[in-house]
Subunit: 521 residues, 2 copies
């Protein structure tokens, strides 16, 4: 089993993504998680470029990492500078890391247009800079920026830049596909040529996803002889993102037999992906390969019944291998096996009770005809099964509600809701305002219930979605409202459908609250 070294650049290249800005504390948290998972190199930042990155390197020394080396990023020396006095290189040395990753130019176009120097001077810049960092006792990974474009344009010169890095003592030559537009056939051919020219030298790949092929390109590069893979968690990065380590690691290890991380660690992949999303404050991508919440979600009934017999029929790996779970979506396309499976997740065993299963299927079908959909509404589905089984008792009775929205002569908007409930035999009448009619209704319902059921205070509404079902009917169309709620231990979805958005929201709000109350009993 050939060993692969994983090089994570979430904290450096990944932080270039639109909308993400990591604090030093965020960076330290992510570094800890990467170390725990078994990443070999963590590129922490560019110490010469900003004070935040300098801070990070200072604090990172106290992390006591077990598996990872912290790497400082930088460029080759400026033209005309001596490496020994180049501020960028000195900043790397000052950061006291044991490994550095420095990039140099491989492409004529950049040497001329960006560096504005000669091809020879560029080669010297590369060799000098690597040699200086080696003389300071660092491991040096050389990043050949734009290597593949450079190789297309002038293969001899591109190879000469690698030779310069090697002559300076670089520990590895990392081929960067900086513009991200290459296809697997380009990568295969180019890496093969580099491999032939540098036998015995450790090679790495750094890919971007502009052609949608970053993972494939990285995998192909490994098959052609690269043993270092650079990428980010969830593929975050500028433009279309960097190569996604969450996609590459399981492919290399579970499918191609390379050794990336200890087998047990692989089960932490999904958690790692979600943790990084959380810290970056990015909504996790549901359909992300391996680690997305839909990666093993099945909708078509024929798939579900086949999977019940043998999961390999419609799953390329077992979700547990990467710490993910199978989900069965209950939908218009679903048959009985979807519903049984979903019920099992909610700890209701319908296999043993075919009569109840029938009742539930009938109820689901009827609801679906009205526009309900339970794929994302496990809370409402749970209540539906309880109702079908005759196990449901309401916690409160609605007597009436009223919502009003006014825009007054000064253009001010006021939204107010009043609700009259019967709770434990008592009539409770509350009023509340909100940022809109649904928010007012939500506030008003909570106000009524919290006195009787203080646990309602633990529930936070974390998502709210509205979809018009029969859009053609225009403003008289039916709307479907989906609400996601969470407390400290779980997340549940609830649904409401009506021609009236207020009524639909009301249904979803009531289900959200009732699910919580049943769950806590």
């Amino acid at each position: 089993m050939k060993k692969i070294k994983l090089f994570d650049t979430t904290l450096r290249d990944g932080s270039q993504v639109a909308g993400v800005s990591f604090s030093v504390e965020d960076k330290l948290k992510i570094a800890r998680a990467l170390d725990a998972f078994g990443i070999h190199y963590i590129e922490g930042g560019w110490p010469g470029s900003n004070p935040k990155d300098e801070q990070f390197f200072k604090k990172a020394r106290t992390l006591n990492l077990r598996n990872s080396k912290i790497v400082a990023f930088g460029s080759t020396r400026y033209k005309g500078h001596r490496a020994q006095s180049d501020p960028n290189l000195l900043a790397i040395v000052k950061s006291k890391v044991s490994a550095a990753c420095i990039f140099g130019k491989s492409w004529n176009l950049h040497v001329e247009h960006a560096l504005r120097t000669s091809k020879d001077e560029n080669l010297k810049m590369i060799a000098d800079s690597v040699a200086f960092l080696k003389s300071e006792g660092l491991e040096v990974l050389y990043d050949a920026e734009h290597f593949f474009d450079g190789f297309k344009n002038d293969p001899d010169y591109a190879l000469a830049t690698l030779a310069a890095a090697k002559s300076g003592g670089a520990d590895s030559l990392n081929l960067c596909e900086t513009n991200g537009g290459m296809l697997p056939s380009d990568i295969m051919e180019t890496v093969r040529r580099v491999r032939e020219n540098f036998p015995g030298v450790e090679l790495g790949i750094h890919a971007h996803n502009d052609s949608g092929c970053a993972a494939a390109n990285s995998i192909v590069a490994v098959q052609e002889g690269c043993s270092i893979v650079q990428g980010t968690i969830n593929g975050i990065g500028e433009r279309c993102g960097n190569a996604n380590l969450c996609t590459i690691i399981p492919a290399l290890q579970l499918k191609l037999g390379y050794d990336c991380v200890p087998e047990k660690k692989m089960q932490g992949l999904t958690e790692l992906a979600r943790y990084v999303s959380e810290i970056a404050n990015l909504v996790p991508e549901d359909r992300q390969p391996y680690v997305g919440s839909n990666a093993f979600a099945h909708k078509a009934g024929v798939h579900v019944s086949a999977i019940a017999r043998d999961s390999a029929t419609y799953e390329h790996i077992k979700p547990e291998q990467v710490g993910n779970v199978r989900r069965v979506l209950v939908s218009e396309l679903s048959g009985r096996s979807n519903i049984s499976h979903k019920a099992r997740e909610l700890k209701i065993d319908l296999e043993k009770d075919p009569e109840s299963a029938h009742k539930i299927i009938a109820l689901v079908k009827k609801s679906e005809e009205k526009g309900y959909q339970y794929e994302d509404a496990d809370g409402s589905f749970f209540l539906l099964t309880k109702k079908a089984l005759g196990e449901y008792r309401p916690f409160f009775l609605l007597k009436a509600f009223r919502v009003s929205v006014e825009k007054d002569e000064k253009g001010r908007m006021v939204s107010e809701a009043t609700i009259k409930l019967n709770i434990k035999g008592k009539e409770v009448h509350t009023v509340a305002e909100g940022d809109g009619p649904v928010n007012a209704l939500d506030n008003c319902l909570r106000k009524a219930l919290e006195k009787f059921f203080p646990e309602i205070g633990e529930v936070a509404l974390s998502d709210f979605k509205v979809r018009v079902i029969n859009a053609g009917a225009s403003t008289a169309a039916k709307v479907r409202v989906l609400i996601e709620s969470r407390d400290s231990s779980s997340v549940w979805g609830t649904i409401g459908v009506s021609e009236n958005i207020i009524e639909a929201s009301w249904q979803a709000l009531v289900d959200a609250v009732e699910y919580k109350l049943i769950k806590n009993k």
Copy 2:
């Protein structure tokens, strides 16, 4: 230049994605857009499986498509059935399409576990079914489900299933990577073997994205000899999605020199991608290759200045080639050519008037920051340009409105709106009920205006969409309302944004009416 046939299955396989449910009207709209872009085959659905798909095929006959053939999907006949009396196959014939795509089993595991029949019977089922549809005069594309898994397991049998389809007269053999877990090296080897075994036969590829390699796998398959590519717009589909045509088409045509669509059509790719997202009510993926709003977005200052000198330094293609635009994130200023283009559509020439163009761009930018988006709201965009040019005069002034929704003790819902307007110097106070608060408001506004502007009676609201923008803020989140209106001669979209859905709807309703009044002047 080798010709590639594009086979879109957004309406069939794509509709398997969690949370998406297309109406018949949605499907017809998407079919029209696919045809306009130049897609060769549009797989519309599975006529045997549900009444919605049957409806679609009926209505699709009236579409008068120029470039696309509508294809009906189905499976090979049931075991034990005669093809001539198989309900699934008959449903395809009844749908009156000129092309059918039917799938059969290639993998032992499925023949035994899912079909529960013998390997020989499976071969007969394939040959019979294809032959029957051919005898009915249809073009038959044969989809070899799980072909790559089947080939790994038992190459001879997998090839035998293809031979069966060919013996039945199939026009093409489409190799399906159903579980989506294959890597480019698997695809290359397998397609090469099939190519050798079936010289001269048209081959296709159908990939899924569970390994994150669907686009790469499709491209590799074409390089190995497939000339039909099956996929979906934006890669929507079950689990991790189908192969994304928006990623594959530009790679094949712009990078590898294949002929997919006429050169000019390629510039409509970004618009097509966003249109389908809009109809599916899915948030467009910002970092989607080629068509995402971040695909050509640059954050790093060094990149931006290099790009100013030569865009090839950090861009793999020119964004205009696919109808996208470069964005520079620091200034957030973008889309000038977009705006000029959009204005031209509305017969406003901004090229000649750079000062007005500046004003409009500034106004658009300000609105976009608040959550407005004008891609699908040409009516609101038109009014915005009129406002920027100082050419807008209101037809009426709102003094106040009030909307109330009540659920009474008997569970009856009543929605009522009152509006106070000043029209041509007169105060007009109206009240109306509706099926929900927005419908009540719509009815009430029309009631007020129709006396003064009888042409309002010609306007029908034909679509209504709601999207939550900052979902994390839950029921206090901002919502974006899009309304589509039409009269006998045209269709226009209008938009409103607010934390209050009633206020957002009001804005869109007012724009819809004002656009009509200006248009008719």
